[in-house]
């Protein structure tokens, strides 16, 4: 979350800088510089808008957190894996893995949706995606009591409508 916010602030700063400098160079009639700064400003603005959306989504995920763990493995259906030791938040509207946002259940029926949840003694795996792409997120949940596992299952069902399949408890 911090990393996403930091990036957003950098883009905002860049955009502000360009916006401030452009009038100065316009007065000086330095056309080439104005052109370069305009392009840079426009690019910064686009990135700023994109990053602000990321911040919004990340905030939405953090605000509706169901489970927080400290490592994750992300894989697609072809088996390509990506491991991370960043803090991972699983929520009603997606997962925040470090500075990456994986959304589900945010855009109604057309967007990415949570499809399947499986939990065993060590891991929780979440399958999500749209018709075009399906991803699988595996986390070491760190839960040692059956009571806590079933509480997470209840929360997931209540918030996402997906009933977790529990094995080994």
């Amino acid at each position: 979350m911090q990393a996403i916010r930091k990036k957003r602030n950098v883009y905002a700063l860049l955009f502000a800088l360009c916006a401030l400098l452009i009038p100065c160079f316009v007065v000086e009639q330095m056309r080439e510089t104005v052109f370069i700064l305009s392009v840079a400003g426009a690019a910064a603005l686009i990135l700023l808008i994109h990053q602000s959306r990321m911040v919004y989504n990340a905030r939405l995920i953090c605000g509706n957190s169901i489970l927080t763990v400290h490592s994750a493995v992300l894989s697609d259906l072809e088996g390509t894996e990506e491991k991370t030791m960043d803090e991972t938040i699983v929520s009603t509207f997606g997962a925040l893995v470090g500075d990456k946002v994986y959304k589900w259940g945010c855009d109604g029926l057309n967007g990415s949706r949570l499809k399947n949840i499986e939990m065993d003694r060590e891991r929780i795996s979440l399958t999500f995606g749209s018709e075009a792409q399906t991803l699988k997120l595996e986390l070491l949940h760190g839960l040692d009591k059956a009571e806590k596992v079933f509480q997470v299952k209840q929360n997931l069902l209540r918030e996402t409508g997906v009933e977790a399949v529990i094995n080994g408890w």
Partner: protein, 468 residues
Amino acid sequence: MKKQLLDVRKLNIIVFTLGFTYLLSFVFEGQVFYRHAENAGYDGSQLIFAVMIAHIVGLLLSGFIVRGVKAAKRIIILSNLICIATSLPFFFKPGIMWDISLMIASLSCGFAVSAWGYFLNIGASGNDRMKTCADVLIFSNLLMILADLISANFSSFAALSLLIATLGLAVFFAKYLPVEDRNEPTEPQNDVPISTKWPLYLLCLFIVILTINSGLMYHVINPAFAHLTSITSWYWSVPYIIALIIIRNLRVKMKGSAFLYIGIGMMMVAFIFFMLLDRSVVSYVTVDTLMLGACGIFDLFWWSILAEILAFGRNPAKVFGLGLAANVLGIFVGGIIGTVVTSVHLPEEQTAVIALVVVCVTLVILPPLNRQLVLLLKSHAYLAVYDHMPKERQTAVMNRIQTLDPLTIREQEVLQLILSGKPNREIADVLHISESTVKTHVRNIFSKYDVQSRAELISILLKNQSGD
């Protein structure tokens, strides 16, 4: 039972498009009429305001006479036949019969257009209704361009014959309009009346202010480019059609108030360009593109809101008639302002400045009015009905509505609060979640019910309720 010729939505579009083409091309300040009158040495402009008043009367009276789908169908057929009959005197020398015919045709068109309100409700829901409105406006304007081109380059008699043929086809297709109403708004079973009064009145005020600009345009901008006959005969409506096509095909969530503000900006820039530019073809294309593009945005904006209100009214002809009468009234008021401004023979620059001031004043009023309208539609009359039901009934009604995908428990909680009329902020307070979380849940709920607004959600609910 009659064999179904086409699906109801297509049939609706065809019938209304054909009738509307005649209205746009001939009766309602149509280019075919003006050319035909000019060729016959008849001053058509003297009757403009009387024709508008006759049309308003027809639109308003229809709501009181047409009760039910069968009556609406009969009125549509009869009105189109009357329009055919009243077009015949225009093949002869001008005289009093022209005046009388034009007035009767205008009145009949008002009846037919209002009655169509019943059919706009059938076979289309939600975004489909907006698309139906867009399709009607697009196709009728395309046919209008064709008629204008024929009258400008060939013969006004041929154009008039084409318009009579469109009326004949409208009668033919109208015979196949379904009379068993699958979607007819039903009287609520409880004691709380569903009032669409305030949203409708506010919308009418909104439409009047919005369309004053169109009236002004007819009298200030059009005469300034009257010498460019060849391009004005076909390009006039092209930006309007393009704007409609763009908005029609946008994703639902992009069709919001933002478009209204884009339209306002385009309208202002068009008037500024009108003041600054010369009267060449390029200037005409620039001004007309901005102006008519804005008109397309405005028209589809208020048509779609009107169609949404239509779903709740007990008498769609009355609701539709009132909305369209407000449109004609706006053009009427704009026309009067334009006539007054041009009649004092001020220099063209001063006329344009006065027109720009009027446009700016009307456009400044629009955003707060739009905000009020949105608030009213979101939380006013429709929601009161649900709020007055017993708790068990609320749950029963909610469970009867079929969703595309089951709601989660959290979404059910949010839905319960939406239906009791609570705004997002209050829902967030009750459920101890953030407002953006509520917004996301609301978006998901709408998607699962395949609706675009709270008002539409209540409409589905009420239909289920009446089936209890």
